[in-house]
């Protein structure tokens, strides 16, 4: 073969101009990937059922109005909850395995405030029905039920004994935690959509209930727990012994009860802390006594710490024995306690020692709990454990009656109250639909293309954290200590939009496809494509070989392999 010119019958090298689509490599598959929705732990934790993961995603995109609408589907008071919710969602946040949990509460507050500033509205989409619902008690449970049912087209009337609606949100929580104009702004939406309010109306006699039964197709009772628990000690009729409920109500009405310059708070819950911090702002020295230790205190740790910073003195393992004084209380006799075995709640019991001591004071505020005032309620409704008995949807022993909030057996938080209002809204709607003609149910808005949900809370090891860069959580900012102690100005300042967007973008959006495109980028067979509807991705099963790379590389665990065939 010397420098030959002989030609051979073939192309220069292997070249093909026909399509490789003929080769349906999907036939090689023994497993296939599917897009699924796993339950984000924050979503699971939220008693009100907010789709927190999706809300964070929308906020991270700067889509605050959409984020607000999504919150409103579960909770009509985001500006309020962004201030007072105990945000258990944050404790379960998967991001804490990487760096810190997402500051969900801060983001919710921003979204709520944004909606108020921009006067955002949601209008009823369903034409008015000729069915009437009565809500008794304008606290968070009643107002949530009212809002939900009004949007479904029902005629809703709210009856409330106080001057203004809001329940404990308005009358129990001090303004430095929840300013009045926030409550006004959030509740005004109910007025805007046509909820009728009858304030200063106390429903309590049989004739009141009979008339309601006649005028309304369904009744939702959410009167809360308004009977104050009294320790029943010697000397409890002395002047300047206050109860937290009435004390805080006066504060929220703009009054300034006279507590002198040294007040003692009895109790360990959030109300006790509220009373303590309010008292500091009234210029008093404050000592809080609690029968157990700080570990057993039911109050939120954040609140306890802020009280300590504001100068509240804490005395633990101390129970009141007797109030001393003539006319006004001047001293409290306190029994020293010691810790014993755990009780049914799991907390260590407090056992009296024989030692007592005395503390001087000019006033006492008792905050050891509230119970339900059963006298005002229809006698035919069943009670259990000092709560109105309901099923998980809020139905009572009587078909027409539903209940929620602190009145029923559930944790006494605003969040749980809102959740019970929402559940009752669904239950009442179903009850009324069954007894009359069906109407179209309100559509829930979906902002992210939700695939088939899988009933499983997603854990950190189901994510692919390679795609997330470490970044610390945003900080909240407080006003100066001086301002805190001397005014009722709101303690926490607003966050900037920039900080909120950055914080929201830290959210993994666990278990929900955000169309980040990782699966599309990594698929070696070009078999993951944008869905023709424009929403989400879909797998081209003609060519997908089931290699599983997409599932592995999904940052948020929104895919899994299925082996059945």
């Amino acid at each position: 073969m010397k420098h030959t010119n002989r030609e051979v019958q073939s192309t220069f090298c292997a070249i093909s101009t026909t399509s490789s689509l003929e080769n349906k490599t999907g036939s090689w598959r023994f497993a296939k990937p599917v897009f699924i929705d796993r339950l984000a732990p924050c979503n699971q934790q939220c008693p009100a059922g907010e789709d927190i993961a999706s809300i964070m995603y929308l906020a991270g995109q700067g889509r605050f109005e959409d984020a607000w609408k999504l919150i409103m589907q579960a909770n009509p008071f985001p500006a309020i909850m962004g201030r007072v919710c105990y945000h258990n969602c944050e404790t379960k946040c998967n991001r804490s395995n990487l760096d810190n949990s997402i500051a969900i509460n801060i983001v919710e507050r921003f979204i709520g405030d944004y909606a108020l500033e921009h006067n955002l509205k949601i209008l009823p989409q369903i034409p008015d029905q000729n069915q009437h619902v009565a809500i008794i008690g304008a606290g968070p449970a009643g107002l949530t039920a009212a809002y939900d049912l009004r949007l479904k087209g029902y005629q809703v009337t709210v009856f409330d004994a106080n001057d203004q609606p809001g329940g404990l949100m308005r009358y129990g929580i001090p303004p430095y935690r929840l300013p009045n104009q926030i409550i006004e702004g959030e509740i005004s939406r109910l007025y805007d959509i046509g909820v009728l309010f009858k304030q200063r109306t106390y429903i309590k006699d049989k004739s009141d209930w009979d008339r309601l039964e006649h005028d309304f197709n369904s009744i939702f009772i959410s009167i809360g727990a308004s009977r104050m628990v009294d320790p029943d000690l010697k000397g409890n009729s002395l002047k300047r012994i206050y109860h937290s409920l009435s004390f805080l109500k006066e504060i929220n009405q703009g009054k300034r009860p006279d507590i002198g310059d040294k007040t003692i708070i009895i109790g360990g819950g959030n109300s006790a802390i509220d009373c303590a911090r309010v008292s500091r702002r009234l210029g008093a020295k404050v000592t809080l006594i609690y029968r157990r230790t700080i570990t057993e205190m039911p109050a939120y740790m954040e609140e306890i710490e802020m009280a300590q910073t504001e100068g509240v003195e804490f005395i633990f393992l101390a129970a009141p024995e007797e109030f001393l004084g003539t006319d006004r209380v001047k001293k409290i006799k306190v029994m020293k306690m010691k810790q014993g075995q755990p009780d049914e709640s799991g907390r260590l019991q407090s056992i009296p020692t024989e030692e007592t001591f005395e503390i001087n004071c000019t006033s006492v505020i008792i905050s050891i709990g509230e119970t339900v005032n059963t006298e005002d309620l229809p006698s035919f409704l069943a009670f259990e454990n000092n709560s109105l008995k309901t099923d998980s949807n809020g139905s009572t022993s009587h078909a027409q009656y539903f209940a929620g909030g602190d009145l029923i057996q559930q944790p006494h938080t605003v969040t749980h109250a809102i959740a019970s209002g929402k559940r009752a809204g669904l239950a009442i709607d179903q009850y009324l639909s069954l007894s009359n003609n069906k109407h179209e149910s309100s559509k829930t808005i979906s902002f992210l293309h939700k695939k088939s949900p899988v009933n499983e809370v997603i854990s950190y090891n189901q994510l692919n954290p390679f795609y997330f860069i470490n970044k610390s959580r945003t900080n909240s900012h407080k006003i100066s200590l001086n301002e805190r102690i001397n005014t009722f100005k709101e303690v926490f300042m607003s966050s900037s939009q920039k900080d909120v967007i950055e914080e929201s973008q830290r959210c993994f959006v666990c278990g929900t496809c955000t169309e980040c495109g990782n699966c599309y980028v990594f698929c070696p067979d070009f078999s993951i494509k944008k869905h023709p509807s424009g929403f989400g991705y879909h797998i081209d099963l003609d060519y997908c070989k089931g290699c599983g790379i997409c599932v592995k590389e999904c940052p948020r665990g929104a895919m899994q392999m299925e082996f059945a065939e």
Binding site: M1, S10, F12, I15, S16
Partner: protein
């Protein structure tokens, strides 16, 4: 313009002049200063190319093939273990007919670890179908780098330029760096013609080829390897026309009256030139041949050059265990064509493995031993190896 450059710098200068568009890189001693110089050029803007750091030599060659299929001129550099790691991809470059250029700095094979000059790495890639050109000095390195692109793109076979570890890669020599305009006259920009991934004319390259076509594709490679012999000669001539330096695939010196011809490659050839001058001055009838190409092996030139020569001493800075030195093997195989009375006695010497020095004294020893014996003692004679008596 004359600059004092190491062999590695000369490579980088050659690459920069050659309108290369994509350079995938992975470092290995003693090649690393090639890619470092290229990185500096990219950083200071004097070099205009995509510089892709990959995670291994295998990936570097894969990226070269991909880039070439994308329609651009591409090059990378490696040595020793790096070349071995690329081995699978070397075959692929040939079979896919991509005109990739590779600069290989001859380095010894591990184990044990040795980073110094040895030809085992490149000669053991003989079967991959790459054109292989060996250089004896830094000028030849720079010039051959430029020529490699032209040769590769003409015959569409990947081409390897080879230089000696440390003796060239890290040794400074004066080098004439050509002017860019002259290089442009010599080497136009890459034209992939139809052999690239054109989205407007979609094609699939290199898919399954059954036994009814595969052999024909391999035949094409051989045909173009044969054609490459003329192409290399022509390229050398064109180069001389523009730049004034002429290279040969086979260069014979003092062959007409030589009783013994020493055959060398790489820097050994350079040392040999001085050695034979010294020997001739002392009255010995000795000549030499420098071989530049291992593939395509210049059989005709070798046959013509060695016809009637009595003895040849082939110096192999490499070895094929279980056989012999590779240059000796190649030569022995082609001179079989000669008749018995025309065919030289072949003395095959193994020297300088792992960077052991081959100097004037070594070459003189080789000459003396060749002159002394009528026939070689063995198919492979190991020079300067210390024997351990068992």
């Amino acid at each position: 313009m004359i600059k004092v450059l190491t062999g590695n710098q000369a490579v980088a200068y050659g690459i920069r002049l050659s309108d290369v568009q994509v350079i995938p890189v992975y470092p290995i001693t003693p090649q690393t200063t090639i890619i470092e110089t290229l990185a500096d050029m990219k950083a200071d803007g004097t070099g205009d190319f995509e510089y892709i750091r990959v995670e291994s030599e295998h990936s570097a060659m894969a990226a070269c093939i991909g880039a070439s299929m994308g329609g651009v001129r591409t090059v990378t550099a490696t040595c020793g273990q790096g070349l071995f790691l690329m081995h699978e991809m070397l075959h692929y470059a040939t079979g896919s007919r991509t005109p990739v250029v590779l600069v290989n700095v001859n380095r010894a094979a591990a184990a044990p670890w040795n980073i110094w000059n040895d030809q085992t790495d490149s000669v053991s890639q003989r079967e991959t179908g790459w054109i292989q050109l060996y250089c004896e000095n830094n000028q030849e390195v720079l010039d051959s780098t430029i020529m490699a692109f032209k040769i590769a793109e003409t015959v569409r076979l990947p081409t390897m330029i080879i230089l000696d570890a440390f003796f060239l890669s890290h040794t400074s020599e004066p080098v004439e760096v050509p002017l860019i305009n002259d290089v442009r006259k010599f080497l136009p920009s890459y034209d992939p013609q139809e052999m690239w991934l054109d989205p407007d004319n979609p094609k699939t390259f290199n898919s399954i080829s059954m036994n009814n076509v595969y052999m024909e594709f391999r035949w094409n490679i051989q045909r173009d390897m044969e054609r490459a012999k003329q192409v290399i000669d022509k390229t050398h001539e064109e180069f001389e026309t523009i730049f004034g330096r002429l290279y040969h695939q086979v260069e014979g010196i003092h062959l007409d009256d030589a009783n013994i011809v020493i055959i060398a490659t790489g820097t050994v050839a350079s040392t040999c030139r001085v050695a034979i001058d010294n020997l001739r001055a002392a009255g010995h009838k000795v000549g030499m041949i420098k071989i530049k190409t291992l593939r395509p092996f210049p059989a005709e030139e070798i046959i013509a050059a060695l016809r009637g020569i009595k003895k040849i001493a082939v110096i192999d800075r490499n070895f094929s265990p279980g056989s012999q030195g590779v240059w000796a093997q190649e030569i022995r195989s082609v001179i079989n064509d000669l008749s018995d009375n025309e065919r030289p006695q072949v003395f095959g010497y193994i020297a300088g493995l792992g960077g052991r020095d081959i100097n004037l004294k070594t070459i003189e020893e080789i000459y003396k031993q060749t002159a002394k014996n009528e026939k070689p003692e063995d198919r492979d004679i190991w020079v300067g190896v210390k024997y351990v008596l068992s």
